[in-house]
């Protein structure tokens, strides 16, 4: 019987990361981009948990604590990101990132 091992987790993480990346790069909606960022962070979380379980052993909690931090960070990041989106909206009357090209200046 084939048991679920480390490579499966890593594949799931990689797929999640790739999806998130594609979302961030291609979405024109700023909120969509924030969602993509969430996917990327969660891909990292999957990797942390997987390596903690298969490399360090279940007795150690280093990776799991790390992922808790990432989740907290993601929450904070979402709050800040949404605030930025709101500011962008108030400035440009849109949240289309194609339109917000002030960095060009």
């Amino acid at each position: 019987m084939t048991s679920v091992g480390l490579p499966h987790f890593l594949i799931v993480g990689a797929v999640l990361f790739a999806l998130g990346m594609v979302t961030v790069v291609t979405r024109r909606n700023a909120v969509g981009i924030l969602m993509g960022v969430e996917l990327i962070l969660n891909a990292a979380n999957v990797n942390f948990i997987a390596f903690n379980h298969f490399v360090e052993g279940p007795a150690r909690l280093t990776g799991q604590v790390f992922s808790i931090f990432v989740i907290v960070l993601a929450a904070a990041e979402a709050a800040v990101g949404l605030a930025i989106v709101l500011a962008i909206y108030q400035t440009f009357r849109t949240i289309d990132v194609e339109e917000t090209d002030l960095l060009r200046e």
């Binding site: 990346m21 961030v24 790069v25 291609t26 990132v97 194609e98 917000t100 090209d101 002030l102 960095l103 060009r104 200046e105």
Partner: protein, 788 residues
């Protein structure tokens, strides 16, 4: 002559005060005049001007008495201030000298000028620019004293030009009247012609003192000048056996000594020297005399003097009668040792003097303007002075200069008083009967008329007769008959003098007053804008007030103009006597005119010794002894004095018959009988018109030609150069723009273009950057794999 003829100077360190006190007055009135006039009134201005003049007089008198106390050969004072410049053998000092001749002139100038300053206080009381008048007057006296006291030609020339300048300033004193400004310009320009001759004569004299012309008429410089040209050390001038330094000099005393000292041989050398085949002494003499004709108003340069009467009357008296115009006579007398050596130059001087005397006298016959009569009389009397110095009677010329200064200043001031009395009317036809209105002016005028006409015991009798007598006996002229001819011309001129002077007296002071108040107002206004302000006092208060303001607007502030009311408040219909400041000066001058002749010039015939003035002047006139005169008996001399008196009497009787009380109709009938002759004389023989046609038109033509040349040739050349420059600049600009700027622009454009292209990368799209980062990361990973 012997070594006693050598004049040694005594140094007095205070002589400079005499000329510099008037300069101080002029400086004070220049710097503070307007302010003083506003702040303290006109009193302050004339206090300065008259104060310095009185001080200068006192110093001059001290100098006179200290000179008088010394023996004749020690009467040479000098005051060397500093050396102005030194160039080769030329050394020019700023120094003053007084010898008997300069002393006499200085006394005349300071005393007559002081009286005229005092007179001006009254005469100019209405003048808004009061300070300016006194500043010019002081400056004039300073210049005149430089002229007579300068110990060398250069200082004298400063004075010579200075009096010309002051004369210009004073003739054109009322410069807002264009006629007066023109008269000032005319005087200035005519004097320039004379000055040219003077300077040329001076140069030739200086040059010939140092070198000689050899038989090929080539100039051979000697000594100092030659070495100076080579840049070598200047040698000390040679010294004659009698101890006189030789060589070129501009100092009068050194020059006098060189000529007076026979052992120096200068006089002999000059006698034989020629320039372009002509005797050099004659050239020098005539050139210097041309200068004198300009300053002293002789033919052909006399034309400025009658026009100069446009100036205020005290100016006419001071400058154009008493002092400045005598500068030429003074100069000839000063250089007597030069002139005496050249019979040709002497003859020219005397002949021109005689011609001027009779020519000007004849014009004086028919003038109606009282000042014009006096002006031509001045020209005529200056002619007499030149007869005097021309025939070798130098002291007599100076004597006449002095007596003339007294009586002509008196006459001019008298005419000023008359003009003021008649409300700025100068036409004698509108005067008459003034004797009862202006008694003091009348008697002083009559006294001066006596003096100028040559009645016995008045000054003119002695000076004029001495001149004519010396002319008759003169033996040193070009030909023996010249003296007699000059005597006859001079006698006729003297007759004319007596006639026209008494004519002016009778027309002015006898008969009924003809100057009706009505009608002359407009004329006055036209002629003399200044009179307008004075006249306004007489009109009703409102009228006067407006006039006052008009006059004040032109010049100064109101309150000082009000002050002048004191002097002339009685301007009205009737003539009036002048203020005391004026009559006082008149009396003083009249007294001098009457007594100075008897005291200073009583002939040997009467007193048994030579005249005081001749004796006093002798040290300054070393040449007087060497000029030959014919010996004659006493009875002949007496006869000539009687003739002189007879001539004066005939002129007087004639004038009295024709003009007393304006009753005789003979003058009018004569005028109608010979209208053409009358017109020619009345219009001064059309000399002004002749000069206008010959000189002024020619000068204008020349200036127009030069203007054309300037416009077309000079400007053409300048414009050509400008065009060339512009073309070159144009080419250069094209090169600059196309090539240099092109290169710079190419570089700039390159960067601009590249920047614009690269700018596209900076889209501002955050996702594009992310793409870039991702691509970079992927590329990095791939490269990692490939390289490993």
């Amino acid at each position: 002559m012997n070594s006693e003829n050598v004049a040694h100077a005594l140094h007095l360190s205070w002589l400079w005060l005499i000329p510099f006190l008037p300069l101080l007055g002029a400086a004070l009135n220049t710097a503070f005049g307007p302010w003083l006039q506003r702040r303290y009134g006109k009193r302050a201005n004339h206090a300065i001007a008259v104060g310095v003049m009185v001080a200068s007089c006192i110093v001059a008198e001290i100098a006179f008495w200290s000179m008088f106390a010394r023996p004749a050969h020690e009467r040479f004072f000098e005051d060397h201030l500093w050396t102005m410049w030194r160039s080769g053998s030329l050394k020019v000092d700023l120094s003053f000298a007084l010898d008997p001749l300069g002393m006499v002139m200085t006394l005349i100038v300071t005393h007559v000028a002081t009286l005229i300053h005092v007179y001006s206080i009254g005469y100019m009381a209405d003048e808004p620019a009061y300070w300016r008048f006194f500043l010019w007057l002081n400056l004039f006296v300073f210049s005149m004293l430089l002229l007579v006291m300068g110990s060398n030609f250069v200082v004298m020339f400063f004075g010579w030009e200075g009096v010309g300048l002051c004369s210009y300033g004073l003739i054109g004193f009322w410069y807002s009247d264009v006629e007066k400004a023109k008269a000032a310009l005319k005087a200035f320009v005519v004097n320039r012609f004379g000055d040219f001759g003077f300077v040329i004569g001076l140069f030739i004299l200086f040059w010939s003192l140092s070198g000689v012309w050899n038989t090929q008429s080539r100039y051979v410089p000697e000594q100092g000048l030659a070495t100076a040209q080579l840049g070598a050390q200047v040698e000390h001038p040679r010294v004659s056996p009698a101890g006189v330094p030789l060589g070129p000099t501009v100092e009068f005393r050194e020059l006098r000594n060189q000529f007076a000292d026979e052992s120096s041989g200068v006089a002999n050398r000059f006698g034989g020297m020629t320039l372009w085949g002509l005797p050099v002494l004659a050239i020098i003499g005539i050139c210097l005399f041309i200068g004198a004709t300009g300053k002293s108003a002789q033919i052909p340069l006399y034309v400025w003097l009658p026009d100069a009467m446009a100036g205020p009357t005290p100016v006419s008296a001071l400058i154009h009668a008493a002092t400045m115009v005598t500068a030429g006579v003074y100069m000839v007398a000063r250089l007597n040792f030069l002139f005496a050596l050249s019979p040709a130059a002497m003859t020219v001087v005397a002949a021109i003097g005689a011609l001027t005397a009779i020519f000007a006298a004849s014009i004086g016959f028919f003038q109606y303007d009282i000042k014009k009569v006096l002006a031509y009389s001045t020209v005529s009397q200056l002619g007499f002075m030149f007869i005097g110095v021309g025939v070798g009677a130098f002291w007599a010329g100076i004597f006449h200069l002095m007596t003339h200064a007294f009586f002509k200043a008196c006459l001019f001031l008298g005419s000023g008083s008359v003009i003021l009395a008649c409300h700025h009317e100068q036409d004698m036809r509108k005067m008459g009967g003034l004797a009862k209105y202006t008694p003091i002016t009348r008697w002083t005028y009559l006294a001066a008329c006596w003096a100028i006409a040559g009645f016995p015991w008045a000054a003119g009798f002695y000076s004029k007769d001495e001149i004519l007598w010396k002319a008759w006996t003169a033996n040193g002229l070009a030909a023996p008959w010249v003296g007699q001819a000059i005597y006859i011309i001079g006698a006729v001129a003297a007759l004319g003098t007596s006639f026209y002077m008494f004519r002016s007296y009778y027309m002015t002071f006898t008969g009924e007053y003809r100057g009706g108040h009505a009608g002359h107002e407009d004329k006055e206004r036209l002629e003399d804008p200044h009179a307008m302000a004075a006249h306004a006092h007489a009109a009703d208060a409102v009228h006067a007030h407006t006039h006052d303001e008009a006059a004040v607007d032109v010049h100064q502030t109101p309150h000082q103009h009000d002050m002048t009311h004191g002097a002339h408040h009685e301007h009205g219909g009737v003539p009036h006597e002048s203020p005391r400041a004026m009559t006082w000066a008149l009396v003083a001058l009249a007294a001098a005119a009457v007594v100075s002749g008897v005291i200073l010039g009583l002939p040997q015939l009467w007193s048994g010794h030579e005249p005081l003035l001749e004796r006093f002047l002798a040290p300054s006139l070393p040449a007087a002894e060497s000029v030959p005169f014919r010996e004659t008996s006493h009875s002949t001399e007496l006869l000539f004095q009687l003739i002189g008196f007879g001539i004066a009497a005939v002129g007087w009787v004639g004038a009295r018959a024709l003009y007393l009380d304006a009753k005789s109709t003979v003058p009018e009938r004569l005028k109608e009988a010979f209208p053409r002759a009358w017109a020619v004389v009345y219009n001064k023989y059309y000399v002004d018109e002749l000069y206008d046609a010959m000189v002024v038109r020619f000068a204008r033509f020349c200036s127009r030609a030069l203007y054309w040349f300037d416009q077309n040739v000079i400007d053409g050349m300048v414009n050509l150069m400008a065009t060339i420059g512009r073309t070159v600049a144009y080419v250069d600009a094209a090169f600059d723009q196309k090539v240099v700027d092109g290169a710079v622009n190419l570089l700039a454009d390159t960067f601009l273009y590249g920047g614009a292209k690269l700018r596209r990368l900076q889209t501002g799209h955050i996702q594009a950057y992310l793409f870039g980062a991702l691509a970079g990361a992927i590329a990095f990973v791939i490269i990692q794999y490939v390289i490993r």
